[in-house]
Symmetry: none
Subunit: 210 residues, 4 copies
Amino acid sequence: MQCRSRSARTGRPRSAAADAAILAATRTALVELGWSKLTLGYVATLAGVAKTTLYRRWAGKNELVVDAVAELFDELELPDRGSLAADIEGVVLQFAAILDRPEAKTALMAVVAESTRDEPLRERIRTSIVDRQKRLVLEGRARAQARGELPPESDPADADRTAALIFDVVAGAVVHRTLVSAEPADEEWVRSFTRILLVGLTGAAADAAQ
Amino acid sequence: MQCRSRSARTGRPRSAAADAAILAATRTALVELGWSKLTLGYVATLAGVAKTTLYRRWAGKNELVVDAVAELFDELELPDRGSLAADIEGVVLQFAAILDRPEAKTALMAVVAESTRDEPLRERIRTSIVDRQKRLVLEGRARAQARGELPPESDPADADRTAALIFDVVAGAVVHRTLVSAEPADEEWVRSFTRILLVGLTGAAADAAQ
Amino acid sequence: MQCRSRSARTGRPRSAAADAAILAATRTALVELGWSKLTLGYVATLAGVAKTTLYRRWAGKNELVVDAVAELFDELELPDRGSLAADIEGVVLQFAAILDRPEAKTALMAVVAESTRDEPLRERIRTSIVDRQKRLVLEGRARAQARGELPPESDPADADRTAALIFDVVAGAVVHRTLVSAEPADEEWVRSFTRILLVGLTGAAADAAQ
Amino acid sequence: MQCRSRSARTGRPRSAAADAAILAATRTALVELGWSKLTLGYVATLAGVAKTTLYRRWAGKNELVVDAVAELFDELELPDRGSLAADIEGVVLQFAAILDRPEAKTALMAVVAESTRDEPLRERIRTSIVDRQKRLVLEGRARAQARGELPPESDPADADRTAALIFDVVAGAVVHRTLVSAEPADEEWVRSFTRILLVGLTGAAADAAQ
DNA sequence: AGATAACCGAGACGGTACGTCATGTCTTGGA
DNA sequence: TCCAAGACATGACGTACCGTCTCGGTTATCT
């Protein structure tokens, strides 16, 4: 998350409480102000911390917000719900629930937009947020294959490509539904979406197997 | 785009040339600086126009950028390529090509992020950009139904829901692939995506028809 | 006051009412806003006149304000009150009454300040305002000499110098009392001032005559 | 000159050098541009200081200019020249010399004009500038009374009124001569003025004593 | 125990951009 | 030719944040 240049041993150590306070304050400020009106000075005030302390640990607004939002994605998990359909529905609902929070809504697209011109930021988003979701796709597929709902992959490269595609479809659809269409990704929508995705996946896999 | 409250007849009329110059300058500035570092002052300078002229016509950066980017979507169209698969591939490739431009890349997600806290802005995005794409989904489906590739819809409300779902899936997937995964939505990817979508659509429609 | 460049014959003649309205509006605006916050746009609005009309007749704020304030000094006159002392007291009270008006208070020193860097403006002030007062000094002295209260001047150049000196003392004292000390130039003050001035004048004249 | 509300101990202290640089830059800018065209931004640039630093210490242009000009009056003093006449001539010449500087010329009347609508500003002018001169009147009178040139005052209230009157006459005459009449307050003029004033003062005092 | 070193709060600093306002000019349609 | 209306280029306004810096003071670990 952040590192000090040298000699982490001597001198007063950084306050651990400050980190948590700052990230929480960032989320609060995101809810209050949105991304574009959020200022580091206000975050510092909210956290009861000097601006200097903030800059000592994060390079800027983008990095701070990524870290603050990334914590929201820690709760994502994939309990075995017995079928691929149920697993997909479950994780999509979880993801939609996170996106429904105002701090995530306003921040996620903003940092993605920033990342189009900032490679390190994109990398940070990838490791902090995106990969956390991608993992679920891989787990879900492995589980479905173990259940026999999906055939095992023959070509590993093709398997990676397919996983990436599924991920883009799932995450993209939920994000678009939530932020652009601004409609709730509720159970009915998720069920419709899952049906199409599932039919598409199994059907396309069957085609490919022929 | 903009309107004057009253008495459109009196006084010096607004320069039509200025509008075009400003929108073009906005796109140039987006390429040069990205969304977050774009300055209305700089846009005005680029356009050879006073800052006040800019503020007289747009409420702020967001509105201006939406209008500037919206023009990019004017080129979207849906020529009959003979099959539903070809139609989908064609329009997805067009959409991906627009998203690949740096001015669209940096601006689109940014204004969507802003729109999460600004209802009028969301409405503006919807009418200027989103509906332009949504129309293609409706046309494509109608054409596919005429060809017999898709069954006619019985329930109009259900038809609307399905169209919205398809739209979220298509647009969301392309956007996510391009901006979040930061991988090109090239022909191979589009073909894979189209296959899954198509199988899903026809299969799900067949399920529903049973 | 203002002049048109050429051919005062052809085309629509300038509205005479507009001039009066503008000057009155200027005084109103001076009272409302003071000199530094007065804007020509606001004067135009108050006068029910277009800004263009205003600029067609005056070169700028300073010139307009001088003309607007100069009208206040039209009322200055020197009725024969029977003695030099009474004449002086009378004119000083008149002058103090004008300076007590808020539009004169705020405007007079402001244009004088501007005139320190604007020779044409100083000339305009002199002819429009200052000479109007100076004349009274000359009239008063002539009348006092006719009454025998003051000896006739032998050297005309010396007479001019003395008149200028008296004028500076009288006008300066009243202005300073009113604007800098911000105390009223009431009858008591005027009487004290007049006594000193009168003693000084007659005594100094007697000294010089020795 | 300026003060901080509380806790003068914490945080980075204000730069003392900045104050001096800003006031000097203000005087330079006054000479270059005059009062009405003086810009706080330009003063900041001249002083090599950020605009915010300037606004942190002064409320606006008026307050800044008063402080900048007030420093000019620090040099006023009243050495004993042996007689009341010589003392008056000496101080009037000093005062006239200050008023002859372009920065004082353009600024003094301007801030007085502003002060007609701004009570705190008037107070600031009084304490920073006017009282500095007024003191000289009191000293001069005390010295003249010690010398026996003027009778001692019996009524203190009357003494105050007379001092104020003398001050208005002296300062007003010099200012009017210099700024309105725009003639130099040279030795000849000062001698004539002093004679009238002196005769007036001693004569009127003698009248009152009768 | 004392020295050392990095931390902390507060807040001033030089900058940059903001969005607004006034200036003085211009361009309409109409009198 | 004048007028009211209002758009125009220009440039200053006073404010807000940025990211850096300097203070006095506070913990820690290392001598």
